[in-house]
């Protein structure tokens, strides 16, 4: 397997980055994951982090060196992430279960498989055109599908960020499966959050991702989207690959997995700083709060008599 891969995430104008991404590859299989922790919900970044970490962990266990059933693997993985998020919320007495979107892709034997929940997208770009794209699990996408609004209207719709399917919600997620599509030399695969796709047109995306290698194209696209997002800009994240035929000449930037041994897996994943801070900062627990209230109640009763 030979490919060039690049991933980057940016905070945009937000105070926190709740987007997470990772990729992991063995000799014969590649996994990419992007998750967008939900802004309105507490600990969105925790849900997103659990998702990318757990997916990578499962991949490392199972990719020996290929995944037996990639579709099954991603779908099961998403459900395990959903459960893990619930467990985390219970163990940490969180006020609310954190939520996240997820889009994941696996490439092996020259085939691309993917699945997603929410509005983070996968694009397959071939010959300067989007050859495949995930359909958002969003309200506006439903309205477009039903013919109530046009795609252009959807872009400006005030509720374009509302999604009805995610991990960590009360309702179990519905994982939508996509692929399997054979990749050809020069194909580009992009996984990204709405902070990126929401601020660039499909035309720009096709042009940039085809005209330039991902190492250059993705940062450029992120720059553009971030600038357009301005002071209300969302977090924006992308993971992209250029697919190369195996017998191509090696270039300095591309990765060949040939040299990896059977069980070897390489993973790129950032750890969560705020999660650590949360774990360390155990100062005020539920019990502390109850104790303090009881103490005040006692003082009120004592002194008002």
């Amino acid at each position: 397997m030979k490919f060039t891969i690049f991933q980057e995430t940016r905070r945009g104008a937000r105070q926190y980055n709740q987007d997470r991404m990772c990729y992991s590859y063995s000799r014969d299989s590649l996994l990419m994951v992007v998750a967008d922790g939900m802004g309105g919900h507490l600990h969105g970044e925790v849900a997103a982090q659990i998702t990318v970490e757990l997916m990578a962990e499962l991949f490392q266990k199972k990719a020996k060196p290929t995944i037996q059933n990639p579709h099954q693997f991603i779908a099961d993985g998403c459900m395990k992430c959903h459960d893990a998020i619930f467990n985390y919320a219970a163990n940490h007495s969180l006020l609310e279960t954190p939520r996240t979107t997820v889009v994941a892709a696996i490439i092996q034997d020259g085939m691309l498989y993917w699945a997603h929940v929410g509005d983070s997208r996968l694009y397959l770009i071939r010959n300067s055109q989007v050859a495949a794209r995930t359909r958002d699990h969003s309200k506006v996408q439903q309205m477009v599908d039903m013919g109530r609004i046009t795609a252009e209207e959807a872009e400006r719709h005030p509720e374009k960020n509302k999604i009805y399917n995610c991990l960590g919600s009360m309702f179990p997620p519905e994982v939508e499966i996509g692929g399997k599509v054979p990749l050809v030399d020069g194909d580009t695969v992009l996984l990204c959050t709405d902070g990126l796709w929401g601020c660039v047109t499909q035309g720009e995306l096709e042009q940039m991702m085809t005209g330039y290698p991902v190492l250059y194209a993705l940062p450029q696209l992120l720059d553009r989207a971030e600038a357009r997002g301005g002071i209300h800009g969302d977090n924006l994240t992308g993971v992209a690959i250029n697919w190369h035929e195996e017998d191509d000449h090696a270039t300095a930037d591309s990765l060949s997995t040939k040299k990896l041994s059977d069980g070897e897996v390489t993973t790129r994943l950032n750890t969560l700083a705020s999660d650590k801070a949360l774990k360390e900062n155990k100062e005020v627990t539920e019990a502390d709060i109850e104790a303090a209230i009881n103490e005040i109640q006692a003082a009120i009763n004592k002194y008002s008599r």
Binding site: H43, V46, L95, L278, E283, I293, I296
Partner: protein, 325 residues
């Protein structure tokens, strides 16, 4: 980026056995509501809701805006508890009385006695040509009794200003809105909170040298509040004064309209150097009592009154120096 503001609870919302009537005020850290208890008595309910950390966009539940903020949200809650605990221990007619404290909607609530009347700020706005000396003496003599009680509990108010002094219908004052929660929050390493002081009323050490905070800091605010009663405006903000002091001695400005010793007291309380101010509420009270026992200034007697005032000031300086050691 200013933090988004929070939605208040709706009219008629049932909070434990209290029914929300309306929002009375909203600050960066809390919302205060008027509510009725189950016997239809009015109460004031303060809801812990720091704008920078937690949001309630719809419904009732309050949520921290991120994982980082949850720890801070809870830390701030601890400070809200401190405020409740201290207030619960103080039973003083001039300090707002806490009657209940409970947890709901993922945050905490403090129920206080609802006082009828209006704030000193409103009083100042409604009075042409400065609040009368008699009223100033009455209000502040009582208020200082309450403040002394607060300081005795090792707590500083740090937000004394006419808007936080409530004048009951019988003319007696109540000190409201204890800033302790803010105070402690401000000392956590994060300074992204909105300013914890009111310009003009906050002492210079509240801006810069927070380790120098003490009873004298509240005394500065008392001086600024009396200043506002006289001139209708807050004095120049302390941080500005530290750069270029435009403060004009009220002794010169209002000579003849207020007794010299009261004017001197204001000037004394508003000294920029914490050590040059009265060091304890007792010092201020002594000066007030002296003022009250003096005859009101009348034209022609100005010189004598001034002399008396100077004498009084000298003796005070002596005693306060003694206390500093």
């Amino acid at each position: 980026m200013p933090p988004p503001s929070n939605f208040p609870l709706a009219r008629g919302y049932q909070l434990l056995n209290y029914t929300i009537v309306k929002q009375l005020s909203a600050g960066g850290f809390s919302i205060v509501y008027l509510a009725h208890d189950d016997t239809d008595q009015p109460v004031a309910i303060k809801e812990y809701l720091p704008n920078a950390l937690a949001l309630r966009s719809e419904g009732e539940r309050v949520m921290a805006t991120s994982a980082d903020n949850l720890a801070l949200f809870r830390h701030g809650m601890k400070c809200f508890f401190e405020e409740g605990k201290t207030l619960a221990q103080i039973r003083h007619p001039n300090i707002v009385k806490v009657v209940n404290f409970f947890r709901a909607n993922e945050t905490v609530y403090m129920v206080m006695e609802y006082e009828r009347g209006r704030t000193l700020q409103k009083e100042i706005q409604l009075t042409e040509g400065g609040v009368k000396e008699n009223m100033i003496l009455y209000v502040f003599a009582h208020l200082l009794n309450g403040l002394r009680e607060v300081h005795l509990h090792k707590m500083l108010h740090l937000d004394i200003k006419p808007a936080n002094i409530y004048i009951r219908r019988d003319g007696s004052p109540v000190l409201l809105d204890f800033g302790s929660a803010r105070e402690a929050l401000n000392q956590s390493a994060l300074s992204k909170f909105t300013p914890m002081y009111t310009p003009g009323f906050a002492s210079p050490e509240q801006y810069a040298d927070r380790e120098k905070l003490g009873p004298w800091s509240d005394i500065y605010s008392v001086g600024a509040s009396i200043f506002a009663c006289m001139s209708g405006l807050a004095p120049q903000a302390a941080d500005q004064r530290a750069k270029e002091d435009k403060y004009q001695s009220v002794k010169k400005m209002w000579a003849g309209r207020y007794s010299a010793s009261l004017l001197e007291l204001v000037d004394w309380c508003l000294e920029l150097d914490p050590l040059a101010r009265p060091q304890s509420v007792r010092d201020v009270q002594k000066a007030l009592v002296e003022t009250a026992s003096e005859p009101q200034p009348k034209p022609g007697k100005g010189l004598l009154a001034g002399l008396k005032g100077n004498l009084a000031r000298l003796t005070r300086l002596g005693s306060s120096k003694g206390e500093q050691k």
